[in-house]
């Protein structure tokens, strides 16, 4: 067999995702037929998941620079300045990932590993992880695949609580949406955040000191097995069927918790002794990727001995030991002279081998001045390649072709506010998310100020003794996505910004996860480009601090979200925005407070109801003109809302999104105290769908008449929409809806559909 045939055979036999051209490129690099380990290593490094080979040229459009950015995209997580306290600068560390395919195949394990993986990215920058968010997209739970969708939803929620609650990282919300475009391919996007002292940021490469002194590579954590072998490749192809369960990893929050405590101890020890080190989590590509990347990014070579790797299954082939994605492991590059002390902390002080069979820390490699990546196993050399090729990556320029959706407005738009509001409150998208939230621990660590649902964004006060609060929200609307992929990106940023601003916090950073179908298809690649352009446009407008844009500091691209039967998912750019409020005690929730106060509408209503909850739920229509993104106006409105909060004028703030002004009003009433129920009476009762249901971006603010009168030169985007009442109703001079009638249904709706399966249509 000639080389080309051997490569073809290897690709087929090993189920590699790489093309023949890529395999030939690899063979050229090593000057022979690559070893199995080399094939799998490069298959992972060149996978879409790791290399961003299709997306990289487009991602350049995103604004990633701002004076607050400490670490932009490129490392495991992004870092921005947060606040100064007690003589130290504190930075915010954020990461955003998807775990879509694994969650579709094995929902519990897939979702759990999603959290397990994303928190490692934040931990390995030296941070304490103080929160996570889940952005979930499921199929239609009442549709033709409803039974399967409901089971996946239950499994994903179970995976999230079983992992996150045990790990002790508070859940800070996120969102859950249902759309039949996800029937065959759910989305599980996860965001993790934490804080690190600026002088204690850790990097994921062997430090420059390793050129002067012998450094070794310590592997710590769970013993290696065969789970997750080929995981990155699995995430980078169409989901053909569900037989690929072996590529899903198995997560262990208990071990992670102990490991995190031990890691903090080790990092403190190294910092206190002023020893330079490198630290990186094991994710895609396992040992092979972590060892080669730690070395390559530090311009060194490394020799790894697989015989030293603790394994829980005997006789694994070298490529499996090297590339399996066994969870709960880290790689640490330290000087040889302190290796024994580091091992002692993990193995004796924290007793890892006693707590979990086979777990612990071991030296498995030695950094070398010769820039080669060498791996030994059973006395044989199983890989030997120049390190520079490993991280070099590849780029493709994909073709794209516009395929805009036609704008089709409904023939008629009947409007019956009482009935429509009821329908929307009881729809799967309008129902309360509390059946999901009550599975999650949102309060562990004792820093949570606003839990999910209490305000537009969750707020935590993460630095003990410091009043600076972190506000965070994640958003993305598939109903906009299917109608206009550019606006889906822009509004994902816009809504997340509005949610953070509504609490009184100023946005300081964004992350994104770009979920699309097959990028090799020109129409899908166009959707992707549009989404990135939309995000970029919105971020350029919505940097509210000085002249800088809102920087995108971390993110992820997830392609191939489609099944062999179905088409691509709706374009799904999902954005998380992080904000800071200097005094958290000034933050605003959504609950109505004082009867007689005014309800101020920020943002005039426009006739742009395409993709709205009203169209979908009340008149069964899925087309139409999507709300425009008016960047300058969004910015002015946001600055106004922030001013109101800072001055203490706003008593409650809620952004207007799904269901328009009327649903926002109802949610503010439902959030009021059970022993002091409040409602709203609108000034107008005329049944105009544009007024009540349009999802034109905006806010509702509760403020006193006195505060309203004190606003000089009122901007034209302000108007009085109504007043707070001491009745639990949403009313107008013409009609009145009693919220008590639907309160329990609204709260239980998802529980009854998803968990109890009592409602099936």
């Amino acid at each position: 067999m000639n080389l080309q045939d051997k490569l073809k055979e290897a690709i087929r036999h090993r189920s590699l995702a790489m093309t023949l051209e890529e395999a030939e490129k690899l063979a050229g690099y090593v000057g022979r037929m690559p070893t199995p380990l080399e094939l799998h290593l490069f298959d992972t490094m060149w996978s879409e998941h790791c290399s961003y080979k299709s997306s990289r040229s487009v991602l350049k459009l995103l604004p990633t620079h701002a004076s607050s950015v400490v670490v932009g995209p490129g490392e495991d997580a992004g870092i921005v300045k947060f606040t100064d306290h007690d003589g130290f600068s504190w930075d915010l560390v954020v990461a955003h990932e998807s775990h879509n395919h694994p969650s579709q195949v094995l929902p519990v394990e897939g979702a759990a590993t999603g959290i397990g993986g994303i928190v490692r990215d934040v931990y390995c920058m030296g941070a304490r992880v103080t929160g996570s968010l889940d952005l979930l997209r499921f199929g239609d739970p009442l549709g033709s695949s409803g039974e399967k969708t409901r089971a996946i939803c239950r499994g994903v929620v179970e995976g999230i609580w079983k992992y996150g609650n045990a790990l002790g990282v508070p859940n800070l919300g996120g969102d859950t949406r249902f759309h039949d475009g996800y029937d065959d391919n759910c989305l599980v996007n996860v965001v993790s955040l934490g804080f690190v002292r600026h002088d204690r940021i850790v990097h994921s490469f062997v430090p420059i000191e390793a050129h002067q002194e012998q450094y070794v590579l310590i592997l710590v954590g769970k013993p290696t097995d065969d789970t997750g072998f080929g995981g990155a490749t699995f995430a980078s192809a169409d989901l053909e069927d569900e037989s690929e369960k072996g590529a899903v990893q198995v997560a262990d929050p208990f071990l992670k918790r102990v490991l995190s405590e031990a890691n903090l101890n080790v990092l403190d020890y190294l910092f206190d002794k002023e020893i330079k080190f490198g630290f990186k989590d094991l994710g895609a590509g396992g040992i092979a990727c972590v060892t080669s990347e730690l070395a390559a990014h530090g311009n060194l070579g490394i020799e790894v001995d697989l015989d030293l790797v603790p394994v829980s299954i005997p006789d694994l082939p070298s490529e499996v030991i090297a590339c399996a994605e066994t969870q709960e492991r880290y790689g640490l590059a330290v000087p040889q002279r302190v290796a024994a002390e580091v091992l002692e902390i993990y193995n004796e002080k924290f007793e890892m081998p006693r707590l979990f069979p086979g777990a612990g820390a071991t030296v498995i490699g030695t950094f070398t001045p010769e820039p080669f990546y060498r791996v030994l196993h059973c006395g044989r050399e199983v890989a030997n390649t120049p390190v520079e090729y490993i991280t070099e990556g590849i780029i493709y320029d994909r073709d794209w072709e516009p395929s805009p959706a036609p704008v089709i407005e409904p023939d008629s738009r009947p409007c019956d506010p009482q009935e429509d509001l009821k329908k929307m409150l009881l729809s799967v998208d309008g129902a309360s998310r509390s059946p999901i939230w009550t599975y999650y621990d949102s309060e562990v660590q004792g820093s949570t100020h606003f839990r999910p649902g209490e305000a537009d964004a969750c707020i935590t006060v993460p630095i003990p003794g410091c009043r600076a609060g972190l506000s965070v929200s994640g958003d993305g609307n598939p109903w906009i996505g299917e109608l206009d992929p550019f606006l889906a990106g822009a509004h994902a940023v816009g809504e997340a910004v509005r949610n953070v601003v509504a609490t009184g916090a100023i946005p300081i950073a964004a992350t994104d996860c770009l979920n699309y179908g097959n990028p090799e298809k020109a129409d899908v690649f166009w959707q992707f480009r549009q989404g990135v352009e939309g995000i970029a446009a919105a971020c350029r407008e919505l940097g509210l601090e000085g002249e800088d844009p809102l920087p995108v500091v971390s993110g992820n691209v997830s392609f191939y979200n489609q099944s062999s039967q179905g088409g691509a998912i709706p374009p799904s750019p999902i954005v998380a925005v992080f904000g800071r409020i200097d005094d958290f005690s000034k933050s605003t929730d959504i609950s109505l407070k004082t009867p007689g106060n005014l309800i101020i509408l920020v943002g005039n209503r426009m006739d742009e109801l395409g993709g709205s909850l009203y169209y979908r739920t009340c008149i069964d229509h899925r087309g139409g003109k999507v709300p425009e993104f008016r960047g300058k106006l969004e910015r002015e409105m946001a600055l106004f809302v922030l001013d109101c909060c800072e001055s203490g004028m706003s008593k409650a703030v809620h952004d207007i999104s799904d269901g328009g002004m009327i649903l926002a009003a109802a949610e503010m009433a439902i959030a009021s105290r059970p022993d002091a129920r409040r409602g709203i009476i609108f000034e107008t009762g005329l049944p105009d769908p544009v007024v009540f249901y349009s999802e034109t971006p905006g806010y509702l603010i509760e403020m006193s008449q006195k505060s309203w009168d004190a606003i000089e030169n009122k901007p034209e985007f302000l108007s009085v929409a109504g007043r707070v009442t001491d009745e639990f109703t949403i009313a107008s001079p013409l009609w009145r809806m009693d919220l008590m009638e639907i309160l329990e249904d609204h709260a239980d709706r998802l529980d009854r559909i998803i968990w109890r399966e009592e409602v099936t249509e």
């Binding site: 079983k162 918790r257 606003f450």
Partner: protein
């Protein structure tokens, strides 16, 4: 006793509430120190005045929640100190450990007389996080060093657990009432066995159980998550909601104490000899 009392927080592998628990002890005017599970020598040498077993998932909830931690060597020390009358508090997983070690209700030395079973809620299983309301029993108000300040007040606290239902064997049902320390009630203080007032089906609506002497308290809700007023949800009704509403927007809101502070301030008072 030391001039400033020292309260030990025991960290087991899998604990995850140790830092915030230590923080509220410190804020209550006492000294705090976290002892890792294998630091039993250090614990013995420093002779703390009180012990707290924090929440989490010690030893991965292997066998049953709390069962493995209860057998750790460091618990021998806690056990003998409790027998000498030192205050011991177990929160959530810490409560599970106290039950599994037989320290509560503690009628017969070394016997496990109660259990924390899986939540029993119609149509729902697994974890439940929500805010509930509690009241201290008359006896607990008198004898428990953690409840001296509780009085008859309705106390809102969050729960976050999958196994929080106190159960007793049938021959002990009559006796269980004497061990009642905290019971679930509604926001007006009225007890009910219906969900969600009783959020897990606990026997006698028990949220916390104590030993006969009252110095050992095993509670499922988390007082350290309601230590400050700002930790309370905006919708909390009643006395604490009113207090929150009054202070909101004022300079004193951020430092105001919440209902969870009663437990730790009670202990500090106890050491000052005020109860």
């Amino acid at each position: 006793m030391k001039s400033v009392p020292l309260v030990a927080v025991i960290q087991f592998p899998g604990s995850n509430c140790e830092y915030e628990t230590a923080r509220v002890i410190r804020d209550s005017g006492m000294n705090d120190r976290i002892y890792r599970w294998n630091q039993w020598r250090e614990l013995k040498d420093s002779r703390p005045d009180a012990y707290v077993l924090p929440g989490g998932f010690s030893f991965q909830d292997r066998i049953r929640a709390g069962a493995v931690a209860a057998k750790e060597r460091i618990m021998d020390m806690v056990f003998s100190e409790a027998a000498d009358g030192k205050p011991v508090l177990g929160i959530c997983n810490g409560a599970q450990i106290l039950v599994e070690s037989g320290m509560v209700p503690g009628w017969e030395r070394g016997r496990i007389e109660s259990a924390l079973a899986a939540n029993h809620i119609s149509g729902r299983s697994g974890y439940l996080s929500r805010w509930i309301f509690l009241r201290a029993s008359d006896r607990a108000q008198q004898i428990c060093p953690w409840l001296g300040l509780a009085g008859n007040r309705v106390i809102p606290l969050p729960i976050a657990h999958a196994e929080g239902r106190f159960v007793f064997s049938e021959e002990n049902h009559a006796r269980a009432e004497s061990s009642a320390a905290l019971k679930y009630c509604d926001d007006k203080g009225i007890e009910s066995s219906d969900y969600p007032v009783n959020p897990n089906g606990s026997f006698l609506n028990l949220a916390a159980v104590m030993n006969d002497r009252g110095n050992v308290l095993a509670m499922m809700p988390h007082p350290e998550r309601a230590y400050w007023l700002w930790q309370l949800p905006p919708w909390i009704p009643g006395e604490w909601g009113d207090k929150r509403g009054q202070l909101l927007g004022s300079g004193s809101y951020a430092a105001a104490e919440g209902p969870g502070s009663l437990f730790f301030k009670s202990l500090a008072d106890f050491f000052r000899g005020e109860h």
